[in-house]
Symmetry: C2
Subunit: 204 residues, 2 copies
DNA sequence: GGCTATAGTTGTACGCCGTCCAAGAAATCA
DNA sequence: TGATTTCTTGGACGGCGTACAACTATAGCC
């Protein structure tokens, strides 16, 4: 099709390496698996691993990073040149988040959270998780500030809370086993205290 | 006083090493400063550096980690054996956070956030920041769940939002320069959208 | 003073991650 | 056939964090 470009064809694929890595992670645990071992099982040199993944921890976040890009696009597309409106921007942000969350079926839970304890990921998880969290929050904040006209601090605080709700929901969802369904309702549930406002949890 | 214990006395101090490290971070940037260099300037061996700090990045968070412990204590002390009450627990959590925030004077801003760009800290910051964030959120969630009787998901989502507000406020505060004053009012400002609820930002 | 227990310091070695680069190998294009 | 492009590979390097054994300096006690 589109192939037959010039140059040497790829001998391996991203998926091959990813599969080998996940196998080893589940067998031995994440920290006790070296990049050498992954490359060896995938039948590839160590250098080639880094041709496909910038870091060992990136394997844990394959699906997430793609979705983050989709979310950014979705936010950029929506209300391209409309008047600023905080309420509208807020709804758009939540809707975009839920739309992306709906794409995460029971199968698509990232290894990083489902197998966090099975793989013995402790601090390593945290170290690689925050860049993703920050990227999500930044995208949301940008939208709220630009299309919602919200003040910078408010926009960032709000979007951080949104991102935190997503992260919380993702952890619960991933731990819920194979009957978890889609991520979307979990995010929706985690949004409850934010919609109501913190003060009103008094009546909960 | 309490000293004169048996054993060899310390030849160096945590502060000495911290000072040397921060000097170098500001001169050359964080990633271009090696632990060897820090130890050398502090007049100590590399092994001794790791006697005082578990990781290079810990130097950036000296004050923060202490305050995190204080917060946990404060939360544990409050309402030790009272009836569960979500509203009350919530107020206690916010109060504890604000109390700790009030202790951060203009001088006490952690290097990690004030000098983030001066030191060229990019991803390294994120990697070392999340464990702190998670610890804060976990302490708050534990309190809300135990003393507030809140459902697990709600408690965690709420506390994550709280922690996110603190983090957002801390960044703004640290960037505000030496006239920033105490962290407390910044946190209070970042809590505004949470108190009101996300939906009500429509009217903002 | 000498002996012992204790606590801090130092050198050394190790495994691993992530980066860099130069050399090679397999394809297309002319 | 040769040139160009693209991917692969090996090797070397610097750096972090861990482990450990050897050493040093103190206090307490006989």
């Amino acid at each position: 099709m589109t192939s037959a470009r010039a140059g040497r064809p790829r001998r391996s694929s991203r998926e091959t390496i990813e599969d080998a890595a996940v196998e080893l992670f589940l067998e031995q645990g994440y920290p006790r698996t070296s990049v050498d071992q992954i490359a060896q099982r995938a039948g590839v040199s160590r250098a080639s691993f880094f041709n496909y993944f910038a870091a060992k921890s990136d394997v844990l976040w394959v699906g997430v990073d793609d979705s983050a890009h989709r979310l950014a696009e979705e936010l950029g597309r929506v209300s391209a040149d409309e008047a600023v409106d905080p309420g509208r921007a807020m709804e758009e942000a939540v809707a975009a988040v839920l739309a992306v969350a709906a794409d995460f079926g029971p199968e698509r839970a990232p290894w990083a959270v489902t197998e966090a304890e099975a793989m013995g990921i402790g601090d390593e998880l945290g170290a690689s998780a925050l860049p993703r969290f920050a990227a999500l929050a930044a995208a949301l904040a940008d939208h709220l500030e630009k299309h919602g006209g919200m003040e910078r601090t408010i926009a960032r605080s709000t979007s951080a809370a949104l991102a935190a709700a997503v992260a919380t929901a993702a952890v619960d969802w991933a731990r819920a086993g194979s009957r978890r369904g889609t991520l979307a309702p979990w995010v929706d549930a985690a949004l409850v205290p934010l919609r109501a406002g913190l003060g009103s949890s008094r009546s909960a």
